[in-house]
Amino acid sequence: MRFLRSYLLPRLIQYVLVVFSGITAVFLIPRLAGQDPVLEMIAQIQVQGSTLDPTAVKSLTETLRELYGLKGTMFEQYLTMWKRVLHFDFGPSFFQFPTPVSDLLRIYLPWTLGLFLTSTVIAWLLGNIVGAIAGYFSHRSWSKALDTAIMFVRPIPHYIFGVLLLILFAYAWRIFPLGGLVFGRRVVFNLALVVAVLKHSFLPALTLVILGGAAWFQQMKLLVQNVKREDFVQYAQSGGIREKTLIFRYILPNAMLPQVTQLALQFGQAFSGTLIIEMVFSYPGMGLLLYRSVTRGDYNLVMGITVLSILTITTAVLLLDLLYPLLDPRIRHR
């Protein structure tokens, strides 16, 4: 019970608060702009020369008025928006009218989640394992060389690194496709598809793994170097404990825990990175959907993507937080 009160409850409250404030921000942003976004949107669509029939315009205006909460008082509008969010109803997409936004999200989200989870997990494991070994043998020359190499990769932004890899492996040296993986509503699994998916996901995943892994590597290397200097490790070492035991039983568990906490904190950034990389490689996920919806001014779709991303990420962080006590004896034995 004490564990529940001291660990679980604050986390749940934080979760609810973050979701609440995030979605409230999505509600407030259009209002802070101080112009009538509805007229603006419609004007923009017509400027871009897409033909909308009058019924479409009317229902768009309706939807937008409701979405931007321009009906009734501020508070009523706010409640309406929450109702819509809970029903997962973001109105129709402008550009694929009258396809509901939620349908589009349902098609694209799994691809993003697949790429995001796979690359984050691989980057985390790889960065930590290599970082730990490099940290333990920090005076060896290969460890220093690796550290130097990572230093030149670490600060490069996702988009730039992605474009460089795309130029290298898809234009200059045509190993991988330039993107353009297209799916219908129903995905039939067969070997050809699996190969196509792997081919199209390899470069995006590689970019994310290299950039993410570089950050984990550096943090883990520092952690292990610090833990190695702790008294209990020195003591175990002088007591003649075997090196293998020392690394896996004494050093790693102590260095791993902060990395799990960090992982939860980095989720939001890693997710943003995934969306950006999807744009570079035209990978059929939410990032590509975002790119298309932004360039066409499809505000409904952008709002839908944002709300869904906030829900996805906060839930993932919460799950990780709930798993954490299983790893950390200090919390478990309270």
Binding site: Q14, L17, V18, S21, G22, A25, V26, I29, P30, A33, Q35, P37, M151, F152, R154, P155, I156, P157, H158, Y159, I160, V163, L164, I167, Y171, L265, F267, G268, Q269, F271, S272, L275, I276, M279, L290, Y291, V294, T295, G297, Y299, V302, M303, I305, T306, S309, I310, I313, T314, V317
Partner: protein, 284 residues
Amino acid sequence: MVWLKELFGDYRFTVSFVLLSLLLALAVLSFFSPYDPVRWLQVPRDKPPAWPHILGTNSKGQDVFWEATFAIRNSLIIAFIAGIVSRVVAVLVGFIAGYRGGLVDRMLMGIADALLVIPLFLILVMIAMLLREAMTLINTGLLLAFFGWAWDARTIRSQILSLREREFTQTSLLSGNGTLPLVTKEYLPFTIPLILSTLINNIAWAIGMEIVLAILGLVRLEIPTLGTMLKWAIDYQAMLLGHWWWILTPLVLTVFLLVALYLLSVSVSEYLDPRVRIQRIGTR
């Protein structure tokens, strides 16, 4: 002059110093540009690098080299506005939360955590979509500054928390020093390396974000920055048409700039770190 010798003894500092000097020289050159950076069709289009256009010309009829000088300058302006404004917020929040603790601390960190968990990039996109016409250099910088402080406030706070528990804090308070001199005289020297490295990280983040916002067409595209330059090159299919000089220029410049800044932060914060400094004095 000893400190200069020591700094240049670190190859990372030397590399970053040389690179940054070159890039700053480029940025300064933009003031002497023979061309207006916004106008199109000032030179023949799509010419590969050859004198007088040392980096060739682009499909918009602009000289890539002179365009790049403006791009570097403007991207640096955005990044520094974002970096410095958000640093002020991060330092204030970190110091207050760390030193006061209690409810204030929990509220401030709650806000910071919310900002960290939510994919900020999407919120930035939403705001930029509505402000599209107003996304000038200064506004882009301020928008990025508004969201870029959370992570660093957390880092600075944890440093202050550990400093608060040390003996010298008690000593200083017991000898009758107020909070302000304690914070400025005792804590700041300890946190300066941290503030510097967070500043550089933030600048890198801002430059990266500006590029993505430009690719999405959410900043004023006629103002040359590293992002808008890349955006035009991609829109005009520079890769497919083989105009490598056009697309590689912003890419290479961005990589150089960020690697140089990063190396600078790593080497300088190591140099300023009091613990490392004591070791160095010992070996001298």
